[in-house]
Symmetry: C2
């Protein structure tokens, strides 16, 4: 049983090991056989040097060559999908067929292909040409990007397979991936596929590098390193805030998807029309994968009325009857216990659940609190309880509901369920502007869990859900702008301009803003 090597500069090499770790299979509680290294700064430094060199090469390549790599990589992954999903299943306990092979894997592959398409078209660069003044600008690669993926999506948000990765690469940046410690083996398989694809498409092999783990202090040093372009991080708010402080102090962009409790507002008319359907949708959304989604509906607002008690009873029964999912780790179980205790200390009443069922299982849990109590203790009652739990807030009046929404912190999503024939519209019109400014994505009549990979997606939102409300972690091409700088060329000679800014449209299909109009034509 030897320690797995890290991937630096195209070579699988023994890590400069600080310590080692292995993974526990959440379904069996047994440790998996492989050992993974926690690297020291020497590995990080080597990866940064190699990435800097790769960045220079990538910057000069046409988008089509980067697209070729992304497509070759998608194909490699497709060919090895079963092996990868098998490994991810062992490491995360997520259902092999329904979740991994049937859902997350196709999403991951599709996402890489969408990234390829964006890289190829070059439209993401938002080339802007002011002909008479001969001033031209576009977005360009930023430099090596560190991606730190989360525990809950081993594939679609993985450090060298997921959305941040695809966006950073498509924008022409090499990626240093820091695997999540709960699924290093999945990352290793991706890295092997990536290396093959890099070689096939003649890209610098340091375009994709992989480390498994870093001491905290090296992580903080890395996000601030002058050689780094930016960081993409998905994970806990606690770790995110530390990384953000380190990166901010060095003036390095960092994009964080940190925490979100995703308020769902269910208006009276909606309950009158479809109480049972909403109870079903809510239960599914909240308990799927043991609720370990960043878009999990963790907060439900109801207006006290004839149907609100019935709805609370309906979801309580469903939570009691539903199977209990397995959490990724024992730590996740402890976190959930701690957060639910905090919510109760802050005044919430437990309706069902509230205790662990086993080391990595926690009872499906529902809590309830009055609007008045929430208003009195709004910060504490917005603590994220990551997992299969949710808090119901019952407002006494429409104006209390307005006040409740006003206290919310930034979230990724916010939902309204309302009467289909407009009976709730007056209330909606009062509430929606308040919730709108607090969330990245506003939904109607739908739970927030699904995040479509769409050009119009905003998987982001005001702090503390992310670090900046103007960027999205999902959706091409917008998501690529996180890993780009705005580069202006003032009176630069035509042959020295990047192809996307030359008079001739570089692909014949690239959208450019020429003298104020978007078009696919040449500059005349």
């Amino acid at each position: 049983m030897s320690t797995q090597p890290v991937l630096i500069n195209g070579q699988w090499q023994p890590a400069q090991v600080g310590s080692e770790f292995s993974v526990i299979n959440p379904l069996t509680g047994e440790p998996l056989p492989d050992q993974y290294p926690q690297s020291t700064w020497e590995d990080v430094d080597a990866a940064l040097e190699a990435a800097s060199a790769a960045a220079k090469v990538l910057r000069s390549l046409p988008g089509s060559q980067i697209a070729d790599f992304l497509e070759a990589y998608a194909k490699q992954i497709e060919a090895q999908a079963e092996t990868i999903c098998r490994q991810a299943h062992l490491e995360t306990g997520l259902p092999f067929e329904t979740r991994l092979m049937g859902g997350e894997m196709p999403r991951t592959i599709n996402q890489l292909r969408q990234a390829a398409q964006s890289a190829r078209s070059e439209s993401w660069r938002m080339a802007t040409i002011e002909g008479s003044a001969n001033i031209r600008s576009c977005y360009e690669a930023l430099g090596p990007v560190l991606v730190m993926g989360p525990n809950n999506f081993p594939l679609a948000f993985g450090a060298i397979s997921g959305g941040d990765f695809a966006a950073a690469i498509a924008a022409g940046n090499p990626v240093i991936g820091k695997a999540h410690e709960l699924h290093p083996g999945t990352h290793r398989l991706f890295a092997e596929a990536a290396l093959t694809a890099l070689e096939e498409t003649d890209l610098p092999t340091a375009t994709v590098q992989l480390l498994y783990s870093l001491p905290k202090e090296d992580g903080l040093r890395l996000v601030a390193d002058p050689r780094l372009g930016a960081t993409g991080y998905t994970g806990s708010r606690q770790a995110g805030e530390k990384l953000k402080a380190a990166a901010d102090a060095a003036g390095k962009p960092i994009y964080l998807e940190m925490s979100s409790i995703n308020p769902v507002v269910i208006l009276p008319g909606a309950l009158e029309e479809q109480l049972e359907e909403i109870a079903d949708a809510f239960t599914t959304s909240c308990l799927m994968a043991a609720g370990q989604f960043c878009t999990n509906p963790g907060l439900v607002f109801l207006l006290k009325g004839t149907q609100s008690d019935a709805f609370v009873n309906a979801i309580t029964t469903r939570f009691q009857d539903a199977p209990v999912g397995t959490l990724f780790s024992a730590a996740g179980c402890e976190h959930l216990q701690k957060q639910l205790d905090l919510l109760q200390t802050a005044g919430a009443e437990l309706l069902t659940g509230g205790k662990p069922k086993s080391e990595r299982q926690f009872e499906n849990s529902l809590l309830k609190v009055s609007g008045q109590t929430f208003l009195a203790n709004a910060e504490a009652l917005q603590a994220e309880a990551f997992g299969n739990a949710s808090l119901i807030v019952e407002a006494e009046s429409p104006i209390e509901l307005v006040n409740l929404l006003s206290t919310l912190e930034g979230n990724l999503t916010g939902c309204f369920y309302s009467h289909s024939q407009g009976e709730d519209d007056t209330l909606y019109d009062q509430l929606a502007p308040v919730l709108r400014s607090k969330v990245g994505r506003l939904l109607n009549d739908q739970m927030p869990t699904g995040v479509a990979v769409s050009a119009a997606m905003q998987h982001g939102g005001p702090y503390p859900s992310t670090g900046h409300p103007g960027f999205t972690a999902v959706g091409f091409p917008s998501t690529m702008l996180r890993f780009a700088q705005l580069a202006c060329y003032d009176q630069v000679r035509q042959h020295r301009l990047p192809p996307v800014l030359q008079d001739k449209n570089p692909t014949g299909e690239t959208w450019r803003r020429i003298n104020g109009s978007w078009s696919q034509r040449d500059v005349s």
Copy 2:
């Protein structure tokens, strides 16, 4: 002689005064008659409350109504241009006719009109519509924006007249302006014009508010206030870093234009062709308005050769012969002395100048350093000397030149002068990629001082020139994106969508990205 009132919530009212200040006329050294208040937190709090209420109203207005205000304001300013420029001249010493009436004032008015046009067209929102999935997104107003303007542009970058102001308002945000303490009277006149225009166009009067000065701790508290949307700051790096740390810690966007020494690389072929012309252009660019420009060329790179000594001699003579401009304040003069001393301590040799001529005048100053010394002490030799001074770096070889450019911090601009017939092209190709990634705007054969208000402008750049390399402080519509959040509507009913996302094009002319293609049509 009474203290001037502040403008809060549409009312000119006495400030909650912490202390008072007046302005010294830089040309005469005499204090100007008016007294201005440094507000306490009570004023800030009142302004934030009023701005929050105004933000809610502005958010719901069509861009055309905001455009009406910007145009009415531009007209008010135009009518009072002479009075405003007279006041700015008294406070800054900038030439009344050539600089203020003839240059900065028309730029300011034009900028407000460009902002109006962007607000009216709504194209800045980058509406993105994915029809089949019914997911739609656009940029929306962020909330009250604090603008803190610099000392060097009383009009075009003024807190309630300049680029940040125009961008924030055009994106639908109220502005709390913090005047620069060196030209409060100019701000007062702008505020009067703004209030008239707000009333004319029926906008909330709290859309534009004005405070003159704040204690440092209140400034730090303000940029982090939950009620604030974002901050636009132009000024010194020292103050900017403190504001950035405070805003970052609270997760509040802050856009800073802090410091830049704007490297100019003059290649041998260019000197052979037009040594005298470049010497003229450099001298004008560096000494204009006593060099108090954020795009002042503070660093010149030469390759040692037959013409480099001649060029250094040519500019030295010109610096000695040129008239000496007046700095905005005695503090500016002291700063310049201190920074030039630091450069000399770090190994630079003084060619001419180096001492004050009077309390607010400093000799035109040139310094020189070898490439080797610069490499050994690169950080210290990049200290910004804001004013009529520049440092020449002489490289021994092309490879040393590459290394020199590699050590540069982020800058707003970078220039290359090169042979018109391509004799420098090999060298250019080696150097340009290095400089490109360090600067926001790359120029050919032109000094960096002029910043066109163009859609393709990037007046920004990597840290520490600004806080984020993806945003520009000049150029509509891009500059507005700083003060916006990305807002997604997922399955939201048609009549509840903002007009820009409804099927019908709201203006008939708004550019929107519909199913991947930019167009001005309706969604069919």
